[in-house]
Symmetry: D2
Subunit: 319 residues, 4 copies
């Protein structure tokens, strides 16, 4: 797959998949990387910790913690599984934030992605379903805001529809609002269709589009913003080139044909050249998946940030 990923300039957005890709070739522990798995009734939580530069280079992402919450297929909208996922998110947050977030400090939520392209609308929908409270602190009686930390949120759109780099918009707002924490939500691309709508990844290293390809300047991360950044994502597509290459590989392993990565790549390019690398594979129910996961992530984040407030109360504050 590595050839396909490089040839089509694809991201490996999920740490668990980056680990699988490396393990696939070496089949052994990755130096500088630790892993811990916890299983609950319906969900599995994998924590990958990249501990040093060696691990960072191998994994193609920065030193830090990457938590993946996986729930069994097709049950994501089950209210009990929903609850379990939200609880797992709330439990994971302190590991990522540390315990340093004062109770009355401001948090800025950022919903990345394009609201006009369904599979890319996870971030904007997250903002829509999140409780926003910062303005009450200026205008409302104290009673209202007791226990309600100031939360603000923005979906900055994408370069193609605003002409603005996401970093420019976010950096500008951070300088004005001076939040204590950023929570950034974005759609991810997966390597396997089973992950679409069934995994949530949380990490404390920010979001770095094009990491490893030498295009570091747009990263939404603490180094560049001066504020800790929690990034949360859910896979909503698999690139069509990955699917096609997997089928070729599977065909070879099912037959006596010899798999040749370069010839596989050529075949995939022959089939998909028309739209370049931008063909996405999505399930027909992608609208529902975006709707459900954006609500779950919004609620998981809100319950982490407002520990004393009930979920029904939080839903009233959702914009």
């Amino acid at each position: 797959m590595q050839d396909i990923i490089q040839a089509f300039n694809l991201n490996v957005d999920m740490a668990v998949e980056a680990r699988d890709l490396i393990r696939g070739t070496t089949n052994q522990e990755i130096q500088g990387v630790e892993e811990q798995v916890e299983k609950m009734e319906n969900i599995k939580v994998t924590t990958i910790t990249i501990k040093d530069q060696n691990g960072a280079q191998k994994m193609g992402r920065p030193i830090g913690s990457y938590i993946t919450i996986e729930s069994p297929p097709l049950r994501i909208n089950d209210p009990y599984v929903k609850d379990e996922i939200i609880k797992a998110m709330v439990k994971s947050m302190p590991l990522l934030i540390g315990n340093s977030l004062p109770a009355d400090s401001t948090v800025l939520l950022v919903g990345l992605g394009n609201w006009r392209a369904t599979p890319d609308a996870l971030g904007p929908k997250f903002i829509e379903y999140s409780p926003i409270t910062r303005h009450y602190h200026q205008y409302a009686p104290d009673a209202l805001v007791q226990g309600m930390r100031p939360i603000c949120g923005i979906a900055p759109g994408v370069l193609g529809i605003t002409g603005l780099e996401t970093f420019e918009v976010v950096k500008g707002i951070v300088e004005k609002v001076k939040p204590a924490l950023l929570v950034v939500v974005d759609s991810l691309a997966a390597q396997n269709v089973e992950r679409i709508g069934t995994s949530i990844q949380m990490c404390n290293t920010g979001i770095q589009p094009g990491a490893g390809i030498g295009n570091e300047r747009q990263a939404i991360r603490q180094e560049d913003l001066g504020v800790p950044v929690i990034a949360i994502g859910c896979p909503t597509i698999v690139n069509a080139a990955i699917i096609a290459a997997q089928a070729v590989k599977q065909f070879c392993s099912n037959t006596s044909a010899i798999y040749d990565e370069i010839k596989s790549l050529n075949a995939v390019q022959d089939v998909l050249s028309f739209f370049g690398g931008s063909l996405a594979v999505t399930p027909k129910e992608v609208d529902d998946i975006i709707e459900n996961t954006s609500r779950i992530i919004a609620m998981g984040v809100a319950q982490s940030l407002f520990p004393g407030i009930s979920r029904e109360q939080l839903e009233l504050y959702a914009t």
Copy 2:
């Protein structure tokens, strides 16, 4: 591909692709089927006429005319190409309708598909952009409606969101409104990614979901409705199974591997089993494609039905 198409229960929505699939194996004329190609500056118009039951059986669709308008890639939103396509639609209509449509007879527009799933929203968007005039005939002064045939339109939704068969809704309305013609617009699935957003198919045999799979009862066609039906569609997706199978086939033809259709099918199923056959491949710009093609089809249909009215005037009547 035939194995994949059957195994995943896929439709071959485009007559030109059905022809290619048959030709692919026989490489000769198809008995009972005639074909005519016309090239213009930026577009190519292919008319396939199925003349008898023999041709119908081979092509897997009814006797009738199938016109495909193809425009070169990536230029669909060029205003000059747009004009050419609209003109080709206007020119094609009489071949499909015959000359029997009285100037003051009512036409019912039907936009099939699910407005909540972007690639399936072509039909509902078509209704949104079409001029609707039937109500003026009851309420407005004669001057207003001169040259404006009564047009009404509905997007009946899909079974999954209404619990109603499309046929039930359309048949009920046809019995009340008694139109002289139905124009039905729907998204299509293609076999090749290059067709997405670049081809428009028009035919006079209605729309028959699941044609050839023995599920004939929902067809929107003259036999069941008692009214001529023009069906117009544009490909917006390719099934992921088709892409994967094409890559395997291409790989075999690029290497010395022997292509085996059943083993290819197995490989594709191994990769895609998680979401069944419902994984769609779409370009990232699918929202724009739906927007542009639905407007072009609406204008092509409107100019066919209101021959004396300018395009600017028609846009004023669009709902």
Copy 3:
């Protein structure tokens, strides 16, 4: 107000307001009309029963039961009030339906109004948030549909955007689907701004646009459809002419000026003539009001129709 209502051809959509208008002049019991009021913690339920033709003529609406659920201002999105309203709806339903609805009979939900005009979108939103189950009865295992009556739903749009009379569409579908009951939801116009978003009216006499003005043909009611019809509505606007006339009247009662209904009407017409009678007064939060009340009505109807199913389960079936 009666002059204004007639001059601007306005509807008095709510039975409790029709009663107030009559009482306003006579200040006594209305013959043939009974009324019963029940107060709960946060809500008040008024049942008006029109018992004979005499009452029907005075009230300007057919013989039948009209239940109005009123909740205190500004608290409509409080989860506890929400629960109380839903319970009051569930309790009121049997009075309107009678006990004759077999457990497995089909119900057709109809969401009237224009989805492109926010204050008129209550009906279409109601369909969006209602559980739809009829299609499962054909395609899904028995287990799934146990206790789930077949429900289907449609938002037929308005004449101005479809060119179709609502009655034509609904009658056509009723003839095909043969439901045992229709539940029709629509936005209402109120006479007082305090009712906007705070009252829900349920009745068993259908919806009769233009009742009393001699335009009876479009009524969605049992006499014309052959199926019992429950109509549910919530006020979302007050006509601007009403507001203006109320201010004039209030001014006269605050000063020594003599109120003259005809001169008041002339003044209102002078101020509002530009847009005819179609100027609506809405609160700025009308989008939220539509969102909240459509969800509450959807849940109240669903819990009435699926008595054994939990709310969380019902939300999973909402389309």
Copy 4:
């Protein structure tokens, strides 16, 4: 009306209406204010120039130029009127900008208002329909961008849904992007229903919510941003209190009743108190009005900023 405006804390958004309110009492020239009227076939262009502090204080807005383009009622979507309006906008721009805008300098478009409340969505829709080109300058071949000045755009949302002051977002972006000009579009409140959807106001003094009420801090203007600001707006609502007060006044002038501004105000407050001052009067066709005027403003601005490019070409670049 002044009492109503103060009591309900309303803005007089249009300079021509501020002038009428002052003239109403003094019936003479306003010192420090000049006015010029130009009539064309279907439109009237009024230029009000506030020349000194005296005029500014009387008019309740800063020194600068205020151009109002008015088109006759009900014809706003006529394509010929549309063209005339766009031409009048293009002609007015240099008066507001001066001639100092270099051909390759960046312009930032800002669409104020709430995309979830129809009458307030003019600004966000303006961004949607405007050509955005800044990103092409980084990534596309020179040929593409010849004559295409870098344009970027953002709809920052409103405090209630983001928790962010508009000024914070805009100031942050201005500091990063360093544009040579801001063009800010917003919905306006009018004093007369005839202005809804029929007037466009352009000025070079920015947008100053709450001007004159002592709340100057959020103004989007050159003094605070360091960049010239053109503000463009179109009235989409009239406050219900204005309508009600006008009816009382009209009633008094139609009868022998003596108009008393304070008692009129009391009557209006009695009628409207429930929703405070936030009741808006809108025509039923407000969705269409927003759609049409946002497109017209987008095209007027685009043709001003890209003088050599055809309208069809510009529409291709609209996001």
